[in-house]
């Protein structure tokens, strides 16, 4: 794919010769003429240049500002800080514990924290709770108590609640599935590919295979779908696992709703990043060919991008860190990012002492703080993951060019598929 820029206009020429335009501020996608493409470098066609300038300066009445709420509306709770797997890339001390003797959350401390956060919400607000670990299903009783409290308070305050459980998928027993159904959870299963890959990167603590247990668990989940909001799988890819395309082929055999492919947040390896990008593009090509928009939307990245383009919502913040999101660790300490857990210097409170000054939302947008002003992808990306930038450059607001190049490549692919799907209408 060849790219050209004209201020806020990006033009893409696909391998099949289609020329697609994208307006970085208005989030419009358009078909462009060959003359216009040529004029972007040679200014050979005065009419084309005039139309290009006119489009570039157009003020759209369709595009919407981001609906950032500047209050905590999404919370992750590390209900345990222990795990039954020993993933090679585990960020929590290789065993899910961070070396801490505290193995699970104190629900009696979590409930007052939830109360503080939920009391701030207004009638009709959304509130999301994600159960994380360690492995959260090692403490299903804790999840149930927290969810019961949140649902009762949500009903009282007329809030729209959604739950998500991020699990390694090895403990999906009938009993645990009943717990997940009691709060209509989304279930996100971490699985890095077919057994020959997943068993190497995500082995059990004894070194035995975990994949067979996950597959059995998914079969049980699939028999209980009526009580669950969705079931999906997510994989982490990087220098040690560079085959998302193989993972996709395996994921499709599982009968789940959606797939999510993550590049390792702690890696800035350019070759691995480019391999990841190429594989995701190959996955998208297969999905488009096999199932069009429905199959592409099964991949969470494309689903989000298509929603953003359809709704014309300008994103200004990659995530809710410092604005609308908080994570509680198993010691009931609060952090603004799941990756920051266990770094006491990054805690924004503990117990009910949620530091008010640290919970004051950062009003400035991330694309502004990260100096993304000249990037054509800024309103679809939102400035990227601060943790990934910090790992690569030492400063969370100094963007990692490997991350940015990968993001722009994938977003340009998404724009090209979006064009193909929408031009027919």
């Amino acid at each position: 794919m060849e790219l050209k820029r004209w201020n806020d206009i990006l033009a893409l020429k696909t391998v099949s010769g289609e020329i697609i335009g994208y307006h970085a501020k208005n989030l419009d996608v358009a078909e462009l003429s060959e003359e216009l493409w040529d004029s972007m470098t040679s200014q050979s066609d005065a009419e084309a240049v005039e139309q290009l300038n006119s489009w570039d300066q157009e003020i759209s009445d369709e595009v919407q500002a981001e609906k950032a709420k500047h209050k905590i509306q999404s919370i992750s709770i590390n209900v345990t800080q222990i795990c039954n797997l020993a993933c090679v890339y585990c960020a929590a001390g290789k065993d899910g514990t961070y070396g801490s003797p505290t193995k699970r959350i104190s629900v009696e401390k979590t409930i007052p924290q939830l109360k503080i956060l939920m009391e701030r919400l207004e009638d009709g607000d959304k509130f999301n709770i994600t159960f994380l670990g360690g492995e959260p299903l090692l403490y299903p009783e804790g999840m149930e108590l927290i969810a019961d409290y949140a649902m009762a308070m949500g009903k009282e305050k007329n809030l729209t609640l959604a739950f998500n459980t991020i699990t390694n998928g090895t403990l999906l027993t009938d009993k645990n599935i009943e717990v997940l159904k009691s709060f209509n959870s989304n279930v996100t299963i971490s699985l890095d590919g077919a057994p020959e890959v997943n068993d190497v990167v995500r082995p059990t603590k004894t070194g035995a295979s975990s994949t067979a247990q996950v597959q059995e668990g998914i079969l049980r989940l699939n028999k209980n779908r009526a009580g669950l909001k969705s079931v999906g799988v997510q994989g982490v890819f990087g220098p040690y696992n560079s085959k998302p395309l193989d993972a996709y082929k395996f994921y499709k055999s599982l009968g789940v709703d959606w797939f999510d492919f993550h590049f390792d947040q702690e890696s800035s390896d350019r070759a691995a990043s480019e391999q990841f990008t190429a594989d995701l593009q190959a996955i998208a090509e297969i999905a488009m060919k096999e199932g069009g928009e429905t199959a592409l939307r099964q991949i969470k990245f494309f689903n989000s991008l298509f929603n953003q383009l359809d709704q014309k919502t300008r994103v200004e913040n990659f995530c809710g860190s410092g604005k609308s999101y908080i994570v509680l660790d198993a010691q009931n300490r609060a952090f603004t990012c799941p990756w920051a857990v266990n770094d006491v210097n990054l805690a924004v409170g503990s117990g009910t002492e949620l530091l008010q000054e640290n919970l004051q939302p950062i009003k400035k947008s991330l694309i502004s703080t990260n100096n993304c002003g000249d990037c054509w992808a800024r309103h679809l990306c939102g400035g990227g993951c601060m943790w990934a930038h910090k790992k690569a450059t030492g400063d969370k607001h100094q963007v990692d060019t490997v991350y940015c190049d990968r993001t722009r490549s994938l977003i340009s692919s998404a724009i090209s598929y979006y064009y193909s799907l929408r031009k027919a209408h």
Binding site: K69, N128, K323
Partner: protein, 33 residues
């Protein structure tokens, strides 16, 4: 944008009604939609 007899060099595609899969939000929640 287009004057009479001018060739139309830019043809915008129309957004569709959102057809979304039910996938959970994550830390990006509510910053987007």
């Amino acid at each position: 944008m287009k004057k009479e007899n001018q060739k139309l060099h830019i043809k915008k595609v129309k957004p569709a009604a959102v057809k979304t899969v039910s996938a959970p939000d994550d830390c990006r929640v509510l910053t987007i939609l």
